[in-house]
C-alpha cells in the first residue's frame, strides 16, 4: 500500500521533472540584444513601439529593426559611455549583419496573428506585451490560446471596451 502511494507520487514527479528537462523552452530566444535596452528607448526618450518594430501597428508582424534603422539615429553621437562606444564600433564594422536579431516568433506556424488588426481595434501594444518602459519585457509567456479567446469573447480587458471578435477556428488557424 505504502509502496503503491510512493509509486504514484514518483510517477507524477517524474512526469513533472521530465517535462521540465525535455520540453521545449516556452519563451522565445532573446539573443543578440546585448546592446539594446527597451527602457532607454521607451521611457527615457519616448519612442513609439512602431518606431523600431516597424509595422507593429499595421502589418501582420511586429518586425525587427535593421542596422540602417538603428543608424538612422545612431549615426549621431547621441550619448557617451562604454555601451555607446561598443555600439559605434559594432556599427562601424562592415561585417556586422544587416539584421542582428535572432528572434523566433512565438507564434506557431498554423496560427495567424495579425498585429495590424489588433492595433486597428485599439488594442495597444502594452495590453498584451506589458509596459514598454520595463526592460526587455516581452509577455510571450502568457500568450496561450486561452489568452486570445478570452479576450475575443470579451471575458478579459472588460474595462477597455474592446469589441468582441471572431471566435471561429478558421479566423486564426490554417
Amino acid at each position: 500500500m505504502k509502496y503503491f502511494v510512493v509509486i504514484i507520487v514518483a510517477l507524477f514527479s517524474a512526469f513533472i521533472m521530465a517535462d521540465l528537462f525535455f520540453a521545449p523552452p516556452a519563451a522565445p530566444l532573446r539573443q543578440g540584444s546585448r546592446f539594446f535596452r527597451h527602457q532607454l528607448h521607451g521611457e527615457n526618450i519616448g519612442l513609439e513601439c512602431a518606431a523600431c518594430h516597424q509595422g507593429a501597428e499595421v502589418l501582420d508582424h511586429a518586425y525587427m529593426p535593421s542596422k540602417s534603422d538603428c543608424l538612422a539615429c545612431h549615426r549621431l553621437p547621441l550619448t557617451e559611455g562604454p555601451m555607446a562606444e561598443s555600439l559605434d564600433s559594432a556599427f562601424a564594422d562592415d561585417t556586422y549583419p544587416f539584421y542582428n536579431w535572432n528572434v523566433k516568433s512565438k507564434l506557431p506556424e498554423h496560427v495567424v496573428f495579425h498585429h495590424g488588426v489588433h492595433a486597428k481595434a485599439k488594442v495597444s501594444c502594452e495590453d498584451c506585451h506589458g509596459s514598454r518602459y520595463k526592460d526587455d519585457l516581452y509577455g510571450g509567456e502568457k500568450f496561450t490560446m486561452k489568452f486570445c479567446t478570452d479576450c475575443h469573447q470579451g471575458k478579459t480587458f472588460s474595462t477597455k471596451n474592446f469589441r468582441t471578435a471572431a471566435v471561429y477556428c478558421g479566423a486564426c488557424h490554417r
Binding site: 500500500m1 504514484i8 522565445p28 501597428e57 508582424h61 535593421s66 547621441l78 523566433k104 471561429y168
Partner: protein, 546 residues
C-alpha cells in the same frame, strides 16, 4: 488447465504486441485500408470485444433484474470476462487514432487551451459511455467480490444491477450510432441500435458458453438463449439484405448455421461439440463486424483478406484476453474455489438475513443525484461551446445523458461504502483525478515557427500614411507633428518644427526631396511616392496643430 490456457494466451500475446507497436509507430497505414476505407481491423476488433464485454454484464445484471436465477460462479465468470474484454476493447480505439497523443481532445473536458470537444460527435459519446461503463463494471465486480464479507454491500448488488441494465444496452447503442449516423451507404440503418445489441448479446453468450465449456459444466438456459439469438440475428441479417442487398456468407455459415447443431443431442452433449460451436459463433460474428466496418471488404476480396498486421492484431486481442482472464481465474481458483457464496453451484436463497428494501426506494436518491449531475454537466458543456460556429442540437446531448446519470447514481449508491471498506480505492481515485488534471492542462506547447521578423515593407501604397509617419518620422517629429519632447530634451540636434508657415515656405517639391533623400541630421530612405504622401500628412498634422 487455467495455467495452460494462460500460457497459450501469453504465447499469442507476444507476437501480437509487436504488431501493436508496429502500428503505433507507422500509424493507420500499417493495416489494411485504402484511400476510401479509413476504418479497419482495430475498429472491428473494438466493436467485437465491446460486444463480448456487454454479454457478461447482461448475464449477471440483467438476469438478476429479471429474477432469472443463475448460479453464482456463472455470474462471477461473466463479470470477470466483462472486465477482461473491456480492457481489450479499450486498447483498439487508441490504436486506431492517427495522432495518439491527441486522444485527450476527445474527452468532454476543458483543456488548457480552452477547447472543448464536439459533444455532437458519436465518437465522444462512445468515449464517455465506455469510460463510464468500465468504471461501473469494475465497481459492480468489486461489490460482488466484497459482498462475501460485507453484508451491506450485498444489499446494493441488485439496485446496482438495475443501474447497469440500461447502461449496457445504451453503450452498445451508442457504439452502433458510430455507424448509423454516417452517410456511408453500407452503414445506412436506423435499426442499427437493436441490430448491434442483438449481435453483441449473441456473441457474448457464445463467449460465456465457451468459458463454461472450459470450466467443465453447462447451463441449458444459456445454450437455448444462444439458439434464439442466432435466429433473431438471422432475421435482422435478412432485413439488412432486403434493404441493401448485402449478404456475408462466411459470417452466416460460422455465425448462424453451425449453431443449429445445438439441436442435435449428441453434439450438444459433447464438450468439444459445445466448445467448437461457441467458437464458430465468435469467428462468424467477428467476420460480420469486419465486413461491416470495412464496407468494401467483401467486394474487394472474396472471403477474407487480412494483412499480417491485421492478423497479428487479432491474435493479440485473443492473447490478451486469455492471459488476463485465465491468469485471474487461476488466482481465483486458489483463493475462492471453496467459497460457497461467490462460487456456489446454485443460487440458494441465503440472503434472508439481508433486509429487503424496495429497489426504487434505494435508487431514488442516487438517481436524483445522477440527474442533477447530468443536467449540471450538460449545461456547463453547453455554455462552454467555445466557437461561434459550433452548433449543438438536442440530439447531441441525449446520448450522453443516461451514462452520466448512471455514473453519478452508482457513485452515490456505493461510493461511500466502498471507500470505507477498501483503502486502495481512494488511491485509485486520486490517481484518476491526477490523470484528469494532467489532461486538463495537457497538450504541451506547439512548435515555434521560424517566421523571419525582418524587412517590414511600409512603402506599400495601401498602408495608411499615418503609420508610415509613426514608424519613420515620429521618433523625432512626434506622433502629432509637434516634436517628441522627451527626445529633444535629451539630445541636442533639435529637429525642425513643422509649423504650417515653415512648410509653406519650403514648398511641396522641396519637402518631398528632403523626405526622400534626407538633409542634415535627418536620414530617410522612403521612395518618392511615399514621401509625397508623407508630406501631405505633414500638412494635415500642421493644420491640426494650429
Amino acid at each position: 488447465m487455467f495455467k495452460k490456457l494462460f500460457w497459450i494466451g501469453l504465447v499469442l500475446l507476444v507476437p501480437g504486441a509487436t504488431s501493436l507497436l508496429y502500428s503505433l509507430y507507422f500509424g493507420p497505414g500499417a493495416w489494411t485500408t485504402d484511400g476510401f476505407t479509413f476504418w479497419g481491423t482495430p475498429i472491428s476488433l473494438f466493436v467485437f470485444w465491446i460486444g463480448l464485454s456487454h454479454a457478461g454484464t447482461l448475464i449477471s445484471a440483467v438476469l438478476l433484474c429479471l429474477d432469472i436465477k443463475l448460479d453464482r460462479r456463472t455470474s462471477m465468470l461473466a463479470e470477470l470476462s466483462t472486465l477482461c474484454s473491456l480492457l481489450v476493447a479499450a486498447i483498439f480505439p487508441l490504436i486506431h487514432l492517427g495522432v495518439v497523443p491527441n486522444f485527450y481532445m476527445i474527452m468532454p473536458l476543458l483543456d488548457g487551451r480552452g477547447n472543448f470537444s464536439n459533444l455532437g460527435s458519436p465518437l465522444v459519446w462512445d468515449f464517455c459511455c465506455i469510460a463510464i461503463y468500465g468504471i461501473l463494471s469494475f465497481l459492480f465486480f468489486t461489490i460482488h467480490i466484497l459482498g462475501d464479507t460485507h453484508r451491506h454491500l450485498r444489499r446494493m448488488y441488485k439496485p446496482f444491477a438495475w443501474i447497469l441494465f440500461p447502461l449496457v444496452l445504451w453503450v452498445h447503442t451508442v457504439v452502433s450510432l458510430d455507424f448509423a449516423t454516417t452517410f456511408v451507404p453500407h452503414w445506412r440503418g436506423s435499426f442499427f441500435p437493436i441490430y448491434f445489441i442483438v449481435g453483441a448479446l449473441y456473441s457474448g453468450l457464445a463467449l460465456i458458453n465457451l468459458l463454461l465449456t472450459v470450466e467443465g459444466y453447462r447451463i441449458r438456459l444459456l445454450e437455448k438463449l444462444m439458439l434464439v439469438g442466432s435466429w433473431f440475428l438471422l432475421v435482422i441479417w435478412f432485413w439488412n439484405f432486403v434493404l441493401k442487398g448485402e449478404w456475408y456468407s462466411s459470417a452466416f455459415i460460422f455465425g448462424v448455421l453451425f449453431v443449429q447443431f445445438l439441436l442435435v443431442m449428441n453434439i450438444r452433449e459433447s464438450r468439444w461439440g459445445r466448445g467448437l460451436i461457441s467458437f464458430s459463433v465468435l469467428v462468424g460474428l467477428f467476420l460480420e463486424r469486419y465486413f461491416l466496418v470495412v464496407p468494401y471488404g467483401e467486394t474487394f476480396v472474396a472471403g477474407v483478406s487480412f494483412g499480417i498486421v491485421d492478423l497479428l492484431m487479432i491474435l493479440f486481442s485473443i492473447g490478451l484476453f486469455m492471459s488476463v482472464f485465465f491468469g485471474l481465474r487461476y488466482r481465483m481458483a486458489t483463493n475462492l474455489e471453496h467459497n460457497e457464496v461467490l462460487m456456489g453451484d446454485v443460487d440458494v436463497k441465503k440472503d434472508s438475513d439481508v433486509p429487503v428494501v424496495p429497489i426504487y426506494q434505494v435508487l431514488r436518491f442516487p438517481f436524483l443525484c445522477g440527474i442533477l449531475f447530468a443536467m449540471v454537466f450538460l449545461v456547463w458543456a453547453y455554455s462552454l461551446l467555445p466557437y461561434e460556429t459550433f452548433d449543438l442540437p438536442l440530439t447531441g446531448i441525449i446520448p450522453l445523458s443516461y451514462p452520466l446519470i448512471a455514473f453519478m447514481a452508482a457513485l452515490t449508491l456505493c461510493g461511500k461504502a466502498i471507500l470505507s471498506i477498501n483503502k486502495m480505492v481512494p488511491v485509485v481515485f486520486l490517481a484518476l483525478l491526477l490523470i484528469l488534471f494532467g489532461i486538463f492542462y495537457g497538450g504541451g506547447s506547439s512548435q515555434l515557427s521560424n517566421y523571419k521578423l525582418e524587412s517590414a515593407n511600409l512603402e506599400n501604397h495601401e498602408i495608411p500614411v499615418e503609420w508610415v509617419w509613426k514608424a519613420k518620422c515620429a521618433s523625432c517629429h512626434g506622433v502629432n507633428g509637434g516634436l517628441n519632447q522627451k527626445f529633444i530634451r535629451e539630445f541636442y540636434p533639435v529637429p525642425q518644427n513643422l509649423t504650417l508657415e515653415r512648410l509653406d515656405s519650403l514648398g511641396v517639391d522641396s519637402l518631398i526631396n528632403v523626405v526622400t533623400y534626407g538633409r542634415g541630421n535627418m536620414q530617410q530612405t522612403v521612395d518618392k511616392q511615399t514621401a509625397r504622401r508623407l508630406v501631405q500628412w505633414m500638412y494635415k498634422l500642421a493644420k491640426e496643430l494650429k
